[in-house]
């Protein structure tokens, strides 16, 4: 006699959504800083929680004395498709930076100081990496007021709990 077995049921699959991101900005060039800011802003625009952790030269993005002077890296940057010796000419990096900034302004992408403020106002947490801060001999006073704190990598992982970490 045949016995019908109960039909196995698949557990309903919930579409995975991202609820929280922690973004590390580790580079100090224009093209090294913007992607992290754009991703953080984009996350907040989708209602996703976002924190930014600035480390090594990425700290320049939140340093009062440097954030307005961030430049495109024109040496050793194959993406520019020009000889490295050209990129090394005096004033070349400033020129490339101006060109890129003009292009971004057209797209309503703010300059770095304004962008940092925008991202902070949108509710993202801004943090400086303690090891880098110590290495460069900085204090919290060296940073723009939007920076919430100087934290260790351990504290960063604590903050990042339950979310995704993006390294840029």
């Amino acid at each position: 006699m045949t016995e019908l077995l109960e039909r196995p049921q698949l557990a309903p699959i919930q579409p995975a959504t991202i609820e929280k991101v922690s973004i590390v900005i580790s580079k100090g060039s224009l093209e090294g800083i913007y992607p992290g800011l754009i991703m953080a802003n984009g996350a907040r625009m989708e209602g996703i929680e976002a924190d930014l952790f600035f480390t090594f030269f990425g700290l320049d993005a939140i340093r009062k004395d440097r954030q307005a002077g961030i430049k495109v890296a024109t040496v050793g940057n194959p993406g520019l498709h020009m000889p490295t010796v050209l990129g090394a000419l005096p004033g070349f990096s400033a020129l490339a930076t101006r060109m890129m900034q003009r292009q971004m302004e057209k797209l309503d992408i703010p300059p770095i100081p304004e962008f940092v403020e925008l991202v902070a106002d949108s509710g993202a947490g801004l943090y400086a990496c303690k090891a880098s801060v110590d290495m460069f001999g900085l204090t919290i006073d060296d940073f723009v007021p939007q920076v919430r704190d100087i934290i260790s990598v351990g504290e960063f992982y604590g903050l990042a709990g339950g979310g995704q970490i993006i390294f840029t």
Binding site: I38, M45, G47, D108, I109, L118
Partner: protein, 100 residues
């Protein structure tokens, strides 16, 4: 669910901005966790809608914060789940496509 019959896309944005009404805006807001649209909400919603109808694109969060009369901080207090996206939805225009 809305009780008013309008066409929406998969994410609940109106497919035809002309089908929008203030009554509908209130309903969409309620469905999206905003119990009552205050005059501050309306300021943002109208700015988004007017800008879209005039230019064919929704404003970026940057121009929303600079030109709508509501600063970025307050925008996120009014629309915690994303001001641009939600104000567009409530204002009956398509979801903003830009990255900024």
């Amino acid at each position: 669910m809305t009780t008013l019959a309008v066409d929406v896309d998969a994410e609940g944005f109106l497919t035809d901005p002309n089908e929008w009404s203030e009554e509908l805006a209130n309903e969409i807001a309620a469905e999206n966790g905003i119990a009552e649209l205050t005059p501050r909400h309306w300021l943002v919603v109208r700015f988004m809608r007017d800008r879209y109808l005039a230019t064919g694109t929704a404003p970026t969060i940057r121009s929303l914060g600079k030109e709508s009369g509501v600063a970025v901080k307050e925008l996120y207090e009014l629309f915690p789940k994303g001001p641009a996206k939600l104000a567009a939805k409530i204002g009956g225009i398509p979801k903003p496509k830009g990255c900024i």
